[in-house]
Amino acid sequence: MSERRFTLITGRTTKQGRSIHLGKEATEYLEEISTLQMNPKDVEALQLKDGEQVRLKTPYGSTVVKFKKGDIPQGLIFVAYGGFINSLVGPDTQATGMPNTKGIEVEVERYG
């Protein structure tokens, strides 16, 4: 299977909170917000190898990020708050004012 559906979770991490003070162009910051965490079993199912990248896709757009194995339930993926997932989020707020940035359905495939 080369492509699978996941639920994307976003949130704060210590690294993201610290490195943002170095500036939004800082390597440490960009590194943290462009790395996705995935359950080791899902990594295996997608046949991903260390150092490879994955493409995330929603009806709104796509983005390419690195991945690492993480302590996260199967079927979920986590990316730290930051510009990398902006293209995946739709602008609809269902009249609440808040775009949906938690629990988004995304397609994940190996990139390159």
Partner: protein, 390 residues
Amino acid sequence: MAEGVAVKEAKELTVVKGVTCPFCGVTCDDLEVHVVDGKIKDVKNACVLGKDTFMHHLEGWATPRIKGKPATIDECIEAAAEILAKAKYPLIYGLDSTELNAQRKAIELAELIGANIDHTSSVCHAPSLQAVQTVGISSCTVGEVKNRADLIIFWGCNPAEAHPRHPSRYSVTAKGLFTPKGKKDRMVINVDVRPTPTTRMADAFIQVKPNSDYEVFSALELNRFTKFQCAPMRGHGNVVGMAQVLTWQTGYPFAVNMSRGYPRFNPGEYSVADLLAHREVDAALIVAGDAIGNFPAKMAEHLQSIPLIAIDPKESGTTKVATVVIPTAQAGIAAGGMAYRMDHIPLVMKKVVDSPYPSDREVLERILAKVSSMKNGGNGAPSPASKGRG
């Protein structure tokens, strides 16, 4: 300056005590900042996030620019005022990482130019703020939590990484009047869709499916058995303050429209996400917040297509593309003021070092004065009351 004096001063250490950290909603007010020769050399009592906020406050500083070209602060203020005076349906947004007086000025400016005014709460806490408006909130201060709470549930939040000192100051290991043994006197439960570093400090972890919180809450019927207090773990800087100030001045916590000269509230219409997605606003002023860096692509796209003013101490996705960039002294570090803690308690923020740039408040005050004289000078800009829209 005589050289001998400078050298002597250079060795002098000033310790500023009781400093309030501007980074997260825990709003710790017990920091000790060591300043040598006008530069921050050390910070005591802060968590790593707070410490880095102070230690790296000079990194990535913004510079004054108009259309990408270097300009003076005065020229930038003039250019900003011109954009805002001409706009028919402008947006003022951001305002979380600044202090109360700057927030007040931003609201005054919104009233003068008939703008939509919204802030970060809108894209992070809009549904929770509406729930509070609809049914009210049974809440308490973090002092109550520290002194009385014997059961803490961290639900869908991760204080270990987002609010690092919340557990030690208020909710887990903190020792209070009726919780003298700290952690031993408390049961800590973590509910989330994934284990996080917060899970490690909890006695129990309950994993729920994404987007199923409503069902789980309903099934639990928490208040049938005891009396719970509810406290949103508000995140960034002084975001609670902006909701407070906006509410006491206009009656509404976010998504406020002033185009008729009086405040109207309608999330889904006057909220920043919707205003941008519908491509409605024709100019924007972003203060102390990175709209472009954090917004869904569609929203950011519209912001980049209109005259955009960014007031910020640091470069960001927004300053990079803004028509006018006005750098400021960072509130809580190089500018004093007030901030609200996550439990709605206002605290004084100190100025610990000088900045070559004016404060957010001063910049907004000067823009306000300029716009006001442009409008009174009769340059053809419509007054809020006579605008076509609304």
